[in-house]
Point group: none
């Protein structure tokens, strides 16, 4: 029996010109890892009859049917009703779920609107998939060798539920097949330069399959080998992976999926070091990324958001004459900012950003020019970046380069 | 007759974790302008039988069926064959198209591979839609009051073909219809509370259609009216929209789609006021959001990232005794942080965050407890938040509440 999945995203908003279903990308990636192919993806509005019909259709094409969305508390959340109708099974009010939802509201000292009880209905015979990140639980229903899975729409709820609850259950149902993967996260080069560099290695192989994917901040190189034994899979991965690692060197910052901020934070903790930031054009994004990592208070001291020149002088004590002479978007300013952040916060390292993020230049410097500074016990370093893209991308790339500059200097 | 469309994107690559069908956003936008709703969107692999079946299904749901992709010269381009099969009509080789393709290759001084002739087959009775941007022509086929449209997949070919060839043909078939919309962005309440409040108003109407959608930071309430005249559409929108506005009051922060940070920034600029921040648990995210808005340097002065207590004391001059007595996660600390940020940066307003974002409590305060502070010429204000979700969501909600507290106090 071949294992195929159909993904049905429920929600009228995804039929407009403004919204796409992106959950299916994540689900497809996870399923592919189990050797399951997605054969169809459907987006459908909040219409009970249409959704019910789609579920029946899907069960003719696929043995795994995954629905996302329409599990919330409002009138137009009707995925539960539609699947119940498609399967010809009743919905049952689960009192334990009502209590859990009530408790959730009580803990937050808020009154529960009555419509939240809609979320306590489970399709007869269905298994509840807990949702630690929201009130809408998921459901897992088996029928004639098919599995029908109901997931909440918000990605922050869907993804952990799918990974924690559905993947182990699916893996159990599928034939033994070994899939081994390697992931390299790379920063400091463009996607096309990276591909140009490593294509001569990976393009000779179809197993492992190699995927290069640009994420917002960095590039993911993903190898996936499918074999009957683990040893064989690891041998194939090494055949492609080892030369790729050789070629990319320390531009690979993570082999376990960790973000650059997590890797850099772990290095800081290991070194018993601390960091402070001074941000101008990135306006807090650098610190936001550093502090997005749990327990970052172990190594992040704080920082200085010096968005205008007088703040650079008053808050950081940057010499007025330096800014007069070199302007605030200059290597000299970036260096002084990093050094002063380090000194004033009493941190091991200081990191700074100053530049022109656009959309129009307010400084006379071309949009996309950013200086990043680093200061440590061994001295200072400044880099000039010339970044493409819009304001958001320029700020994102600048924080990425600043984090990478810090990473490369820890312990030096 | 109601006019509905189904969009079918053909191509196995769009079933992987790396590619989405984005043509449908453009097509939906164009169709909506004609008063046509998209009722379903399907993505399907390069499989003739599945595509043929999908076309037959689609014709039961929609009177306009639009296929994109699968019109190229290769073996797996089989949309023509699949639609011919679905309609039970033969494919006919069009010699004028063969010549046109040959001519195209001649002009580029390239030899035409034989498989390009596949692109010269037209479904019997079908009308050819010229493609000035590629070799694959489109097709327009009518059957029993339905229209089936075949478009090439590349957006640079599909979009001009749809606009130039399909839109005028569709407009001719459709009754004159007008679509008018209203959008309210709301903050400061949950989706279910909002729905509970306004459902009694909107649920009595199907026109305008009302959609409530939670976005990462706030909630969008979207009304869409379809009528024969603009006046009638506006009258219907007012009938639902005006009481909704009445009920939601100043929890509506935007009626044109602008984000909370953009709206707040515009208010600050209008008032000639400036703002500084002092962030603890949000670690830069509040400032990052404020400075994501172009020209935010007009009103954003800078800020203090005081991630640990000694930074709160040294950088902001918060009294050591205050933190000793009340801890750093307290209303007193939030107020002092806002006041000191304002004073030290010389800004009109100061905004602060301090709390426990988790995943584990490092402060003894339960995860999710956040205090936000505001300070202005008229005095100070502190709010206590009890936020659900993980670290990211807690930080996001905290910045949202802080921005909203600022917005509500501008000019006071």
């Amino acid at each position: 029996m071949s294992h195929n999945a159909e993904i049905i995203a429920v929600g009228s908003e995804m039929l407009t010109s403004q919204r796409l279903d992106t959950n299916s990308l994540y689900i497809a990636d996870q399923l592919n890892g189990l050797g399951v192919e997605v054969c169809r993806k459907l987006v459908i509005g909040d219409d009970c009859a249409l959704v019910a019909e789609a579920v029946q259709d899907a069960m003719r094409h696929a043995d795994i049917v995954i629905l996302s969305g329409g599990l919330g508390p409002t009138e137009d959340d009707l995925t539960r009703e539609a699947v119940a109708r498609a399967l010809g099974r009743p919905l049952q009010m689960r009192h334990d779920l009502v209590e859990a939802i009530e408790e959730r509201f009580r803990r937050r000292q808020r009154k529960m609107a009555e419509n939240n009880k809609r979320q306590a209905y489970v399709i007869e015979g269905g298994e509840v998939l807990p949702n630690p990140n929201g009130t809408a639980v998921g459901q897992w229903i088996e029928e004639n060798g098919h599995v029908v899975i109901l997931l909440p729409g918000p990605p922050g709820e869907l993804k952990p539920m799918f990974t924690r609850e559905c993947m182990p259950r699916l893996a159990q149902r599928l034939p033994a097949q070994v899939i081994r993967t390697r992931l390299y996260r790379v920063t400091g080069m463009t996607e096309s330069d990276l591909d140009h560099l490593i294509a001569p290695v990976y393009s000779k192989f179809t197993n492992p399959a190699t995927t290069i994917l640009a994420s917002p901040f960095d590039i993911h190189v993903h190898l996936r080998a499918r074999c009957s034994t683990e040893q064989e899979a690891e041998r194939l991965l090494a055949e492609v992976g080892d030369p790729v690692v050789e070629l990319l060197g320390d531009r690979i910052f993570s082999r376990n999926g960790d973000s650059l901020e997590a890797v850099t934070g772990a290095e800081l903790r290991k070194a018993g070091a601390t960091v402070a930031v001074a941000e101008s054009c990135t306006g807090g994004m650098l610190a936001e990324r550093i502090t997005a990592v749990p327990a970052s208070s172990d190594y992040f001291v704080g920082g200085f958001l010096v968005y205008n020149n007088s703040m650079k002088e008053s808050l950081l004590g940057i010499d007025h004459a330096l800014i007069e002479r070199h302007t605030a978007v200059s290597p000299e300013a970036a260096q002084a900012m990093a050094e002063q952040a380090r000194a004033r916060a009493g941190a091991t390292y200081g990191v700074s950003t100053t530049g022109e993020a656009g959309p129009e230049s307010s400084t006379g410097v071309p949009v996309g020019i950013v200086y990043i500074g680093f200061a440590g016990p061994g001295g200072s370093e400044v880099r000039k970046l010339n970044l493409p893209g819009d304001r958001t991308r320029i700020r994102m790339f600048a924080t990425q380069a600043a984090l990478d500059l810090l990473r490369r200097n820890i312990g030096k």
